[in-house]
């Protein structure tokens, strides 16, 4: 084994350990305080200078994937994306990072809408509105885009919205002469990060949904034999596995492309592929589970609803394909 291979294997083992410990934590229903304080999940990708661990997007992706698999009801994705979108070289951004890393401040990102930013003294005055701000209800800071740069708005005026996916809240944000501080000069990166995060999470959703489906097929009998022996169902499951594997690969690539120019195509591509996989798997899951998958008690519909939300939010498949076409220069 070469040195390169050894290092790679070591890293894979570390990732597996991270995945396992995070999944175990999520399964206990640990609250925000423990997720951030004890496990330091929001600190993961924040630099060590700012109270974080300085891990890469790869580790963040593992955590978000497991959060998706657990249908975690917490503002982890939004806070993580908010923190990653900040440019630590800007003082206003740097000042937010320690609280985000510690989990004392919950962040959200507002990209679906528009606003104008007018300089005002040290900061800016923002006017506009945004819809579908994820985890907005609990956010102490919202990172908003005026199409060019990103601004931090603290104590935002949020109107919570009831959602189809009850495992994740949403809100609308109205900015009326709201004070904001410049926290990044590249607004597009926030969307790329959100795409990558939703993609990673969707892989988790797809994987967990497929897992319970497979478990059902292996144990439940019909016509006197396990459902898992019916070739039509076997082939369907094989196709779902292929979808999932493709999604895993596209997310794998996107997470590793962070920081390169390819991220601008790899992230929306991963979002497209992973949310389509989750959508396909979770719909098929309800079919394969039969009646039980239609009940409120079974998790199948919660996976479906999260997959549906992740697919339609932050750019639906048609919009993403259009974006890719333009970014690919076709």
């Amino acid at each position: 084994m070469t040195l390169e291979q050894e290092q790679k294997q070591e890293q894979e083992q570390e990732h597996a350990a991270l995945r396992e410990s995070v999944a175990a934590f999520f399964s206990t229903g640990a609250d925000w305080g423990r997720l951030t304080g004890e496990l330091g999940l929001t600190a993961l990708a924040i630099g060590e200078d700012h109270g974080g661990f300085g891990a890469s997007l790869v580790e963040v992706g593992i955590v978000l994937e497991e959060a998706g698999a657990a249908l975690l009801h917490s503002p982890l994705l939004s806070t993580t994306v908010a923190a990653l979108a900040l440019d630590p070289d800007l003082p206003a951004a740097a000042s937010l990072l320690p609280a985000l890393a510690a989990g004392d401040l919950i962040g959200a990102v507002a990209l679906d809408g528009s606003c104008t930013a007018r300089p005002d003294g040290d900061g800016f005055v923002l006017d506009g509105s945004f819809a579908h701000v994820l985890d907005a209800e609990s956010a102490g800071v919202v990172i908003v885009s005026d199409g060019t740069a990103l601004y931090a708005v603290t104590d935002p005026d949020i109107r919570p919205q009831p959602t189809l996916d009850q495992t994740r809240g949403q809100g609308t944000l109205v900015l009326w002469q709201a004070p904001g501080r410049l926290v990044a000069r590249d607004a597009a990166r926030a969307q790329d990060l959100l795409h990558a995060a939703l993609a990673a999470e969707s892989v988790g959703v797809a994987r967990a949904s497929l897992r319970v489906t497979v478990e059902h097929l292996r144990t439940r009998e019909q016509f006197g034999v396990p459902l898992a022996t019916f070739q039509a169902l076997r082939h369907r499951v094989a196709d779902l596995h292929v979808h999932l594997e493709q999604a895993v690969s596209s997310v794998w690539y996107a997470l590793r492309a962070a920081g390169t120019s390819e991220f601008a195509t790899a992230a929306p591509l991963a979002k497209l592929i992973a949310t389509e996989a989750a959508w396909t798997v979770t719909r098929a899951s309800i079919q394969l589970l039969g009646g039980i998958g239609f009940t409120w008690e079974h998790d199948a519909h919660r996976f479906l609803k999260r997959a549906t939300a992740n697919r339609l939010l932050a750019g639906d498949p048609v919009a993403l394909r259009r974006l890719l076409l333009s970014r690919a220069g076709l």
Binding site: L164, Q222, G224, Q287, F294, T295, L312, A314, D316
Partner: protein, 386 residues
Amino acid sequence: MAPEVSLRAADVRAWLREHLTGEFAPLVGAGGPGREHEQLELRAKWERELGAAGWIGLGWPAPYGRGASIAEQVVFFEEYARAGGPGRLSHIGEYLLAPTLIAHGTEAQRRRFLPPIARAEELWCQGYSEPGAGSDLAGVRTRAELSGDRWRITGQKVWTSLAHAADWCFVLARTDPAATRKSGLSYLLVPMRQPGVEVRPIMQLTGTSEFNEVFFDGASTDADLVVGAPGDGWRVATRTLSYERGVATLGQQLGFARELDAVVAAARANGSFDDPVVADRIAEAWAGLQGLRHHALRALSATEPDPVGASVAKLLWAGWHQRLGELAMDVGGAASTVAEAAPYELTDAQRLFLFTRADTIYGGSDEIQRNIVADRILGRTPRGTR
């Protein structure tokens, strides 16, 4: 009973316009996917109104029904749907049990049960599916024993719509524990309002309950309330499944058309209709619905029934309807992720999307329908080798 109204479209329309008012006005557009559980009491009264006017059992032969032709029944269903008539409560008795009794029942059974169905005085539910058996009717484990002149029934059914509103249930139960699978089942008519019958609503992914579990714990029924011979229940029940739908299909399709209209209206309202990719999918849905209509008309006009026609029709409409639910969500885009109101009131699009997940499962899943079609085209295979 009121004098019968003619089956000419104009007369049917006039009758509906006249009656679907006043206390029944709130029923216009009620029922439908994901709303089977709403306004039950008023809808039961509405059924009796329909029954009194002779609209139930139109196609049954005299003396129980009017012996209306298919074309005449189509007129009624199309007008009913056009008038926004509510989802029907009596259809399980009218379209599943009644044809079964006409084909397999005794004269006494017909005399006893058909008139109250026609007057909507007795509502029915279907007791086929069981937990652990799903679409595999032959896997039924509910048992019935003849004890004196009564059957004693013990077991559990699921996926039973309208069980809480029903007076009677046709139950597939194992009456010969020694016989295996298909043989040894009997088709029993069981009163619902008795000790030993418990109905528990199943909370569904929509957050509402159209379907129920029904528990039989020593419930009983008369010895002669078995349809067909004891042990012949599997044959009787599988025939019943093939009665499902039929002419009512065209009425169902007008409901589909209203749903599609709503999707088109939403696409116009939010501007997505101007996106040719969305317009293409809307056109596909529109074309698919015309196709369903043409298919139903051809099936109804056939002089010899297609032995797998019911399965083909089920696969077609269930798939179309499910895709419509998905299209409704996509047309809404990100806005489709927001519910109508807290705590969990869904939008029409969300309800359509979620509820149509069941279309390909209940009433014989897509997989079961494909088995039936394939058996016909490729020859049967032993179940075990599937």
